[in-house]
């Protein structure tokens, strides 16, 4: 008879004391946007729930999501997450390979019907019967469908799984298709970013485990807790934008002073992500802080929204908070309609923004 271990037991067995455990619960609940009254719920859930099996599939991808995931920087999560969940199938980390590994996947589907999490990194090539990604002699598309059928929840890690990302950029030679367009009979949580921030990934899993349900999602099925605001809204360089103080060339005097990177092509005004708040690599920095414009890597179709070093709108629209927010509002509309942001830029340039909100409904 298998005995399933709770997170609290694991934390304890790994030398994490009660005080640190409570700190962990508090921090995760704050990350997830809950008030302090929810902390006891977190604590209780973490103390009593067994580890939920996770099958982590890899399709067309570059493994940056897994690499980000193992960077999880909370004092205990990098160690804990391997034990908080039971990561039973993951091509990157599993000790077993080949038939032995495939047997694990099939066993989990059978033994934990409706009780395991499917996490997907990458997406599925749909052209030519799926020959552009094959696992154990089978198409990735079929492996994905088979594994999703009995999953309790499906998480799409990163921009590949969520929206398509680089292989889906024009002309999308392999027919790379995001997970929610393959798995249509259940909610797919999109956790975009190239890659997503480690603590965002950890936070999504923690929420699911704690409350037994998915976090609240926006219209693009992203958790609101992490994708609720634009990078621009929380950027520490925002005052310079409002004051019309811009970097005109990389490494110029204004760059040293940390002025706004809008004119260098920053996509912060149209990008929903937690970079300025959670930051990257244990709160070390984020792209704008290191002097580089945001590429908008968590937005649908961001590869086709460039060029990256071209500003979002014509220079005549710069300078005031009001204009910036107009750009932002158009972007909100664009994101909601799944519109390619380059269409926004073009529309603004033509000074026909009223049309841009309804012009294009193609998802990136």
């Amino acid at each position: 008879m298998k005995k399933e271990t709770t997170y609290a037991e694991i934390l304890e067995s790994r030398g994490v004391n009660r005080r640190d455990f409570l700190k962990f619960c508090s921090l995760m609940s704050v990350y997830l946007g809950y008030s302090s009254t929810f902390i006891p719920t977190f604590v209780r859930a973490m103390e009593t729930k067994p580890r939920i099996p996770v099958i982590w599939l890899h399709g067309l991808e570059c493994t940056c999501c897994t690499e980000s995931f193992i960077r999880s920087s909370h004092p205990i999560t990098a160690d804990i997450i391997l034990n908080m969940i039971s990561l039973d199938y993951d091509e990157t980390l599993s000790a077993a390979a080949g038939d032995q590994l495939e047997a694990v996947r099939k066993q989990i589907i059978k033994d934990y019907k409706g009780k395991y999490i499917l996490a997907v990194e990458g997406n599925a090539p749909t052209k030519d019967d799926g020959v552009y990604c094959m696992i154990n002699g089978e198409s990735f598309t079929n492996v994905l469908k088979e594994t999703a059928a009995d999953a309790m929840a499906v998480i799409a890690w990163g921009s590949c799984a969520s929206f398509g990302c680089v292989q889906n950029a024009k002309p999308n030679p392999t027919g790379a298709t995001p997970v929610h367009k393959i798995i249509k009979d259940k909610t797919v949580v999109n956790v975009p970013g190239c890659p997503p921030i480690a603590e965002v990934m950890t936070g999504v899993i923690t929420h699911l485990l704690t409350f037994g349900k998915l976090p609240e999602l926006d219209r693009l099925k992203r958790p609101k807790a992490f994708y609720g605001t634009r990078i621009h809204d929380k950027c520490y360089r925002r005052p310079y934008f409002d004051a019309g103080m811009f970097v005109e060339s990389f490494d110029d005097a204004s760059a040293n002073k940390g002025w706004c990177l809008y004119k260098m092509g920053c996509k912060g005004p149209t990008t929903f992500n937690s970079c300025p708040t959670v930051k990257w690599n244990g709160g070390t920095s984020y792209p704008i802080q290191a002097g580089h414009p945001c590429l908008g890597c968590s937005e649908p179709g961001f590869w086709d929204n460039g060029p990256f070093y071209t500003r979002l709108a014509d220079v005549s629209f710069l300078g005031t908070n009001s204009n910036a927010d107009k750009i932002g509002m158009v972007a909100v509309g664009a994101a909601a309609a799944g519109m390619a942001a380059h269409a926004v830029g073009t529309a603004i340039k033509k000074n026909k923004k009223q049309k841009s909100e309804t012009a294009n409904t193609e998802e990136g």
Partner: protein, 574 residues
């Protein structure tokens, strides 16, 4: 009777790799076939884009060896447009590259490769006191070595295994007779597996400081975007630089006190298992330029090729020479207009997928007499070559680079083996550790150089002279290279009227994992597997051991970007 085994998916690698092997009656591998089972078609996606964006696209080829394609790409574009970069930009890029090599090698050893040598379940029967003595003997200075520490770990591990939920350790090869470590060495290695998992994320904070994030830090054509100003709280200042310094020091400590001692301790038990040598041909483009990237005499990792294990002759390698590096597709799922067996230089390469040649799924075996991989077959002067840490270390050893000669000799002497032991799976694994110690040292070197420049008043990180495409030639070509953790990487670009006309990449794992060529010669993986005895064909431990020693990166390998003007019209799958 010969039997055929299949390992698919090969786990603990990047990407999708399949190995088929034919065994004789004694279960010795007679033939092996390496197949990349994924293709993303990025070569078509770069066309007509802004060359200054190319680093971001190519960086997404791989998130494990993140940074390397970005580095090769900015070097490539700068070569084409004639952009010079400030010394600080070169130093920061070298520092970021050394950071990547070090972190990547560390993660590879502990999280992708160690479980081929370390039996996690055996660790449950270790004596914590004996483990402590062992740990203190192999690394006297490393503090996490008390009896209590290993006692706690053993308890945690026991509880974990008893839970029945083995997670990433599920259904593996525990108890296989190929595992030779005593329980105490296994327990020590498990401890360091966990410590390394914690520590690796610290190393890449250097990327976050200079590039904003990791994976996929930001690069810039013409230099770097991270302004340095010791008198600004909004630029890289002394606080950030101190953070870098601490990470550099901690990294050197971890490599010296954990990785290298573990490597030598583990290798000591396996020095009788010297299979997996393979081709005996090695190539390195070299890297870590101390001056201009084209000044190959300034490379800290030297350039050169070795044939047939002959260390007395180093052959010159010129990746720009159209006669040296060529690719063919005899056994790849592509078609060449002039014949699949007629090798082409990347600059005139073609990429026409041939999906009809892929067997109908689900399939049990590939048609290895015909086409059987999404990887092409690159050759250097018609020779299959091994690239990566062993190739680099051997080229440096043969060229008598003092640090490498000293470290290699130290390792060989400590293990009491001769130089011939280097030509093996174990030699490849040892070379990666030797190199990791070197790259950790490079981190210190580049940090010191950067600080000296800043102290002298030079804070410039970007040169904007060629930022505006109006200042570029209307038609220009460039080449950029780097030595990625897995080996020699080359990017070629053709820019016309400010847009990418052609972009070509030849990637390390394509060299190593390639299928056979038209002469029937195997690539490095296939060659290395031949002659290896398997204790139990149902448990492919020996196959994993040798394949993992190359550190496969299939996302890279299957994204060879070969584009030319005609190619778009030949691709009918759009």
């Amino acid at each position: 009777m010969a039997k055929r085994i299949v390992v698919d998916p090969v786990s603990r690698i990047e990407g999708h790799l399949r190995i088929e092997a034919v065994l004789d009656e004694q279960n010795i591998i007679k033939e092996a076939y390496s197949s990349g089972t994924m293709w993303r078609g990025l070569e078509l996606i770069l066309k007509d884009r802004d060359p200054r964006d190319a680093w971001a696209f190519t960086q997404r080829i791989c998130g494990v060896c993140t940074t390397v394609h970005a580095l090769a790409s900015v070097r490539c574009v700068e070569d084409a447009i004639g952009a010079e970069i400030p010394p600080n930009a070169r130093i920061i890029r070298n520092l970021m590259n050394a950071t990547q090599q070090t972190q990547d090698h560390l993660v590879h050893f502990y999280h992708l490769h160690a479980l081929d040598w370390v039996d996690v379940v055996s660790a449950l029967s270790a004596d914590p006191k004996a483990t402590s003595e062992l740990a203190q003997a192999v690394s006297p200075s490393w503090p996490k070595s008390s009896v209590g520490y290993f006692n706690d770990l053993k308890k945690r591990l026991t509880k974990f295994v008893e839970s029945g939920q083995l997670g990433i350790f599920s259904n593996a090869y525990w108890g296989h007779k190929g595992y030779l470590l005593p329980p105490e060495a296994n327990l020590m290695a498990v401890a360091h597996y966990l410590e390394a998992l914690e520590f690796q994320k610290e190393i890449v904070k250097i990327h976050a400081i200079f590039g904003g994030k990791n994976p996929h830090p930001n690069y810039l054509v013409g230099g770097m975007a991270c302004s340095i100003d010791p008198n600004s709280d909004m630029a890289i200042n002394i606080e950030q630089l101190n953070k870098v310094k601490k990470i550099v020091d901690d990294t050197n400590t971890f490599i010296d006190q954990v990785y290298i001692p573990d490597l030598i301790a583990i290798a000591g038990f396996y020095k009788g298992w010297l299979y997996g040598g393979g081709l005996g041909n090695f190539m390195s483009y070299g890297d870590f330029p101390e001056s201009d990237v084209d000044d190959t005499s300034s490379l800290l990792w030297p350039r050169g090729a070795i044939l047939n294990k002959d260390l007395s002759t180093i052959h010159d390698v010129d990746p720009r020479d159209v006669n040296q590096v060529k690719e063919e597709v005899t056994h790849s799922w592509y078609t060449y207009a002039g014949g699949d067996d007629k090798p082409l230089h990347p600059s005139v390469g073609e990429t026409t997928p041939n999906p009809g040649a892929v067997p109908k799924m689900p399939y049990k075996h590939l048609d290895t007499d015909g086409k059987y991989s999404w990887l092409k077959t690159p050759r250097w002067n018609n020779n299959p070559m091994e690239v990566g840490p062993l190739a680099r270390v051997l080229v440096a050893y043969a060229k008598k680079v003092p640090m490498i000669v000293d470290t290699v000799n130290y390792v060989l002497k400590t293990l009491d083996v001769g130089p011939e032991a280097l030509f093996s799976t174990l030699g490849r694994t040892a070379a990666r550790g030797i190199e990791c110690k070197q790259t950790a040292g490079f981190m210190t070197h580049y940090y010191d150089k950067l600080m000296a420049n800043i102290k002298a008043g030079d804070t410039k990180v970007f040169n904007n002279e060629k930022w505006d495409p109006d200042r570029w030639p209307s038609d220009c070509k460039g080449f950029g290279y780097t030595e990625a953790p897995r080996g020699s990487l080359g990017h070629w670009i053709h820019i016309k009227d400010g847009k990418i006309k052609d972009y070509q990449i030849v990637v390390p794992s394509t060299w190593n994992a390639s299928p056979r060529d038209s002469n029937g010669n195997s690539g490095a993986y296939e060659a290395a597997l031949k002659g290896t005895p398997m204790a139990n064909p149902e448990q492919p431990l020996e196959v994993l051991r040798t394949i993992h020693s190359f550190d496969p990166c299939l996302a890279c390998a299957s994204h060879i970007m070969d584009m030319n003007g005609n190619e778009i019209s030949t691709v009918k799958i759009l």
